[in-house]
């Protein structure tokens, strides 16, 4: 029975997580053994419907232009995937930058959809579509995500020599704008996070600085 289920999934790898339009045609049932397979099939189609009708909740992982395999590995681990699935996320999209570690697209024990790519000129679009962003500690990625008002977990790269990057992440975590983690503590952070505790971030602007500069140079301040 167990083996049959696995073989079945190999034939239709998308079944468990299919959207309603990808449901297998009824005719296929005829080649299957009655009745266990039909029950199985019914179950699978039902879960497929549930997944399809529920909105997609994407977790977007970004490492910017850096190489941060430790983060990709951590996100790819079964524990973190399990934790994300438990929190109700359906998709995992990884921007892996210059890293060499390839995440596995299929995970055995979960229905979390995994996909990855190296670079994209429009990271903002991916952030906009995500329900949760897990990012490296670069100021660009952090501020872009906060500006778009998305929940954010920043993972600090401990392999960097001059690790001033953690300063910004820790300060913003103290101000409750984001969650700060290390690759090895990511699972606990995901399990413990309460998105309602986050405060919205008010982006600053350059007006005050430009006024100071103008004053210094003797321009009339308007």
């Amino acid at each position: 029975m167990r083996r049959r289920v696995l073989g079945f999934q190999c034939m239709f790898p998308n079944l468990g997580r299919a959207s309603p339009r990808r449901r297998i045609p009824l005719g296929t049932i005829t080649i299957l053994q009655w009745p266990t397979e039909v029950i199985l099939l019914k179950n699978l189609v039902r879960t497929g419907e549930e997944m399809g009708s529920r909105e997609r909740r994407v977790v977007f992982v970004t490492v910017g232009t850096t190489c941060f395999d430790a983060l990709v590995k951590a996100v790819d681990s079964d524990e973190v995937k399990e934790a994300l699935l438990h929190k109700g996320y359906t998709d995992l999209l990884i921007q892996m930058g210059r890293g060499t570690y390839m995440p596995s697209k299929v995970s055995v024990n979960s229905t979390l959809q995994v996909d990855y790519f190296t670079f994209s000129p429009s990271i903002a679009d991916y952030i906009r579509e995500a329900s949760l962003v897990i990012s490296h500690a670069g100021s660009g990625s952090i501020l872009e995500t906060l500006r778009l008002g998305k929940p954010l977990i920043v993972v600090v790269n401990e392999d960097l020599m001059d690790n001033h990057q953690s300063e910004l992440a820790e300060e913003l975590a103290n101000r409750k704008h984001l969650f700060c983690a290390r690759p090895q503590t990511l699972q606990e952070t995901v399990e413990a996070m309460e998105l309602n505790n986050l405060l919205p971030y008010m982006p600053g602007d350059a007006k005050q600085v430009v006024t100071l500069i103008s004053k210094f140079l003797g321009f009339p301040v308007d």
């Binding site: 501020l143 982006p203 600053g204 140079l217 321009f219």
Partner: protein, 227 residues
């Protein structure tokens, strides 16, 4: 022969006079640095805008977009030779300016590349030579551009440029105001370039983006976050 005998005492008198004049000038420049301009200005100022990867360009472009363009023109954008994204971003912005307001802006923006003193992971022995090269190049750029205003926010390339501009001031060959705006990523400590420019009093106006950093460095000013 007679000339040589005369030239020697002349040099003996001239040299200390010259040295003391330069020293007085040097201290005058140090004192004058950081003093706001008393005369009101109207015309455009030649500015040098130092860009750099790792978030520096994004913050700097945030300032540039807020600047009154008629006051700060022409603009010379500088980025490291190995950094091709930064100048591209500046170029895109300048082109958007041209589209929105006539084509006279086209001569107002210039894009310059500069040697980097040290690449990530470069050995220390070779970096002595490259630092020397980078400093000479920075000096050449400052002499050629003669900026009146310099904006920088911490990439490694900004230090030789600022030092060159300061030396030019000390020699009386030009005057520039150096504005240093520390990156938002620096919350507790200044970056190396920032620390040097602060301690050596080379920056005319030094801004930080976090109040706790301003408390640590009282000569800096705090004017909120840029982003």
């Amino acid at each position: 022969m007679q000339m040589g005998v005369d030239a020697l005492p002349a040099a003996c008198y001239a040299l200390p006079v010259l040295v003391s004049l330069l020293t007085i000038r040097f201290f005058y420049v140090l004192w004058r640095n950081g003093q706001p301009s008393s005369r009101p200005r109207a015309a455009g100022l030649r500015c040098l805008i130092v860009l750099g990867s790792g978030g520096h360009t994004a913050e700097m472009m945030n300032i540039v977009t807020t600047l009154q363009k008629d006051r700060f023109t022409p603009r010379y954008y500088v980025a490291a030779l190995t950094d091709n994204m930064s100048l591209q971003k500046a170029q895109v912005y300048e082109e958007s300016l041209i589209e929105s307001g006539g084509n006279k802006t086209v001569e107002n923006a210039h894009f310059v590349q500069i040697y980097r003193s040290r690449e990530v992971g470069q050995s220390y022995i070779t970096s002595i030579a490259t630092t020397l090269l980078a400093t000479l190049h920075a000096m050449w750029l400052v002499i050629r551009i003669r900026p009146q205003v310099i904006f920088c926010n911490g990439p490694g390339t900004c230090f030789p440029l600022c030092v060159s501009a300061f030396l030019l001031k000390a020699l009386g060959l030009g005057w520039s105001c150096i504005f240093y705006i520390e990156s938002i990523a620096r919350v507790k400590k200044l970056s190396l370039s920032g620390l040097l420019l602060y301690k050596l009093r080379i920056a005319d106006q030094f801004s930080v983006q976090w109040p706790q950093l301003q408390q640590k460095y009282p000569r800096a000013c705090y004017a909120g976050r840029l982003m």
